[in-house]
């Protein structure tokens, strides 16, 4: 029965906005509510695959649990005992599939789009969800560029029953982006979404999908042993850093991909600081012997079972703010030892080293003196980090500019999804009184944990000498 023109549970049903394989989307509205809304109604024709019902149930379990800018806001739903539907916020922006007409896109646009999607995935992963169907039609953009992930019918929530686990079959149309472990039925690894995003960036950057569009399981399985044509072979204009990022996402073993979506976004926003490996220079696919060897002796893909949030906790982004002009050698060493302790237990953690160029120095940006000051700060940050002996690419260095140091640090932490900030307290109480406490403001307003490092002063607290632990 056509729904258009009817009123269901107070929602006036308008025209069909989209006819998908599993569901129809209708424009709906309700009196006294200006929010743009849509109603998703599963197709329930005779002979319809019953798995689509399970998929809709899964989406009904997951959507009410999700919040934030990267998900359409959930409004209402009804189950199969009556007329099943989900009403949610209608995202006004365009789907990424529209951009496919313009591919290949310039590398900086690929990075911008990729970082926006990685932000959305990080947010989902933090909310215990692996999307498992990352593809252009499922990614919309709000007017401000925020990516929104839609369609949770194939998703996995690590704290809810996975109803789709028993219903495994090829999700038609998504095969170009599907991760190899997903082909094998593994559904709990958030890095499967990073593979899909890598395949998507490959397509945006080259105009081709990395593994074609196989229609059968056998064809989809090829990606377990057959590596894609390196992007730079298809498009000369692709810089080494972008190929590095894309091919890392497309690694067969999840352990060799970026550990988290947040770390992937960090790379895409700071291309100059990406540690290049042999991937960046690859110009041809692996030879037939290597491929054969992989086919005969595939890598074990069953990852250690960690819940999604646990995986993120094991690979956090740490940021340390070092006030180069104020920090004494002693405080610098204390900061370093604090950071060292935090990195030691988590080999997949990343470290961002920050310094804020304030006021006049920042205002004159562009002239040569300012440029030199900027470079000098970068050198000093690297010098500070050198004793940590971090592998290339594990630490990145950033000179921020802004009149207000605390605001600059907070902006950086928000934009880059920093999990933990470390900074030193000003030693000099006079300057703290005059300038205000940067660490105090950061600790109060940060979107994450904050550790403030301060040298223990004689006569305040313990009677032992400072640093005696």
């Amino acid at each position: 029965m056509p729904l258009r023109g009817r009123t269901i549970d107070g929602f006036e049903v308008g025209e069909v906005l989209h006819e998908g394989g599993m569901a129809l989307l209708y424009r709906v509205s309700r009196p006294d509510d200006d929010t743009p809304l849509l109603m998703k109604v599963p197709r329930l024709r005779a002979g319809e695959d019953a798995a689509s019902i399970v998929s809709f149930e899964m989406e009904q379990m997951i959507m009410p649990r999700l919040a934030g800018p990267h998900v359409p806001r959930f409004v209402a739903m009804a189950g199969f005992e009556t007329e099943p539907y989900i009403v949610m916020e209608r995202i006004e922006g365009a789907a990424l599939s529209l951009r496919l007409r313009e591919v290949p896109l310039p590398p900086d646009q690929v990075a911008t789009i990729g970082a926006a999607i990685a932000d959305a995935l990080d947010d989902l992963h933090q909310q215990h969800v692996v999307h498992l169907d990352v593809k252009p039609a499922n990614i919309l953009f709000r007017p401000d560029g925020t990516a929104v992930m839609v369609d949770y019918g194939l998703a996995h929530h690590d704290q809810l029953p996975d109803l789709m686990a028993e219903e495994f079959r090829l999700p038609y149309g998504s095969t170009p982006y599907m991760a190899p472990e997903q082909v094998l039925g593994i559904r709990h690894d958030p890095r499967s979404d990073l593979f899909a995003l890598g395949a998507l960036m490959y397509q945006l950057a080259t105009g081709e999908t990395p593994f074609g569009e196989p229609q059968h399981l056998k064809g989809v399985k090829r990606r377990l042993w057959r590596d894609p044509v390196p992007p730079r072979r298809r498009q000369d204009a692709i810089p080494p850093w972008l190929q590095e990022v894309i091919l890392r996402c497309l690694e067969v073993s999840p352990d060799r991909r970026h550990p988290t979506a947040a770390q992937l976004a960090l790379d895409l926003r700071h291309p100059a600081q990406i540690a290049l490996t042999a991937r960046a220079e690859r110009r041809r696919r692996d030879d037939i012997l290597t491929v054969l060897r992989r086919r005969l002796r595939p890598e074990p893909l069953v990852p250690r079972r960690l819940d999604t949030a646990g995986r993120i906790a094991a690979a956090p982004i740490l940021a340390v703010a070092i006030d180069l002009s104020q920090t004494t050698d002693e405080l610098a060493a204390l900061l370093r030892s604090q950071v060292q302790k935090m990195l030691a237990s988590r080999p997949r953690a990343r470290l961002a080293c920050l310094h804020v160029l304030r006021g006049a120095a920042a205002a004159g940006a562009g002239d040569e003196a300012a440029q030199n000051r900027h470079v000098q700060c970068l050198l000093e940050l690297r010098h500070w980090a050198a004793p940590l002996n971090l592998a290339q690419g594990r630490a990145t260095f950033h000179v921020l500019e802004g009149a207000d140091a605390a605001e600059a640090i907070l902006d950086y932490a928000r934009a880059n999804r920093v999990d933990h900030l470390v900074l030193g307290a000003r030693e000099n109480s006079l300057s703290r009184r005059l300038l205000g406490s940067v660490s105090g403001q950061v600790a109060a307003e940060a979107p994450c944990s904050v550790t403030v490092v301060r040298r223990r002063r004689a006569g305040e607290g313990d009677h032992g000498p400072a640093g005696s632990d």
């Binding site: 019902i53 149930e57 199969f80 005992e81 029953p161 109803l163 686990a165 028993e166």
Partner: protein, 247 residues
């Protein structure tokens, strides 16, 4: 309405009290006790007294295999340790307590919800629901949309949907799971008084009938006190030791 569902108290007064307090603090208005009030633990009288008071105030209580054995004196099918505890328990109960246990029903059904101690396909046979196969047997024996049972001492959630496949899930403590109305669900509670899933904290579930959600809860309790009573009663020491391990 919030219903607190508790199974397998096993004469563990400390765990029972902790769970009841925990549930009340979270707005539980109704209590369902799914059997095995006694057995293993050293406080059968006190546990039954609390249960009798709850039932007098409208709670639901069902019979478990240990309750049945404590009444009949027949420990058929039980291991030596359980049988020993049952004969110890039997000697301690008053007539009133014994007749309270004897009068408990095997099942109770209300509003599409079936409560039972073990497998619903033959409630008096005390078979375990411990995997997809045994869950299917229980689910196929009832039309109820939700079944709640205990007996296994390990939390689990099974469901049967449109594709006739049994889904198996280990609940995450404190996270409410929506029990979609299009499926049929079988919730296996953990044990209040003798958890066996490696987590020694007492376990029960809170059902929110308005939201159609169930959340398993884990509650820390004074294990040392419960264990000390078991030892002091002369019951096997391993019954005390296992409480610390949740095994």
């Amino acid at each position: 309405m919030r219903i607190a569902i508790l199974a397998d108290v096993h004469a563990n007064l400390e765990a029972f009290r902790a769970c009841l307090d925990h549930a009340r603090a979270r707005g539980a208005e109704r209590f369902a006790l799914l059997g095995d009030l006694v057995g293993y633990g050293a406080s059968p009288e006190a546990v039954i007294e609390i249960a009798m008071a709850l039932v007098a105030a409208g709670a639901l209580a069902l019979l478990g295999n240990h309750d049945e054995a404590a009444v009949s004196g027949s420990a058929a099918g039980m291991n030596d340790m359980a049988a020993l505890a049952i004969s110890w328990t039997r000697r301690r109960l008053t007539d009133a307590q014994r007749s309270f246990l004897a009068a408990l029903p095997l099942t109770h059904e209300e509003d599409g919800r079936l409560f039972v101690h073990a497998d619903a396909s033959a409630p008096g046979r005390w078979r375990y629901v411990s995997d997809a196969l045994t869950a299917r047997r229980s689910l196929e024996a009832t039309d109820a949309q939700m079944t709640f049972c205990g007996h296994v001492h390990r939390p689990a959630l099974y469901s049967l949907g449109e594709t006739d496949k049994v889904n198996t899930f280990t609940p995450v403590c404190g996270v409410p799971v929506p029990l979609a109305r299009g499926r049929r669900w079988l919730a296996v509670l953990g044990a209040v008084g003798q958890p066996r899933d490696g987590n020694p904290a007492a376990c029960y579930a809170l059902l929110d009938t308005a939201r159609g959600e169930v959340a398993w809860q884990r509650v820390p309790y004074d294990i040392a006190a419960a264990a000390a009573k078991i030892r002091a009663a002369g019951l096997p020491a391993s019954l005390a030791d296992r409480l610390f391990l949740g095994r």
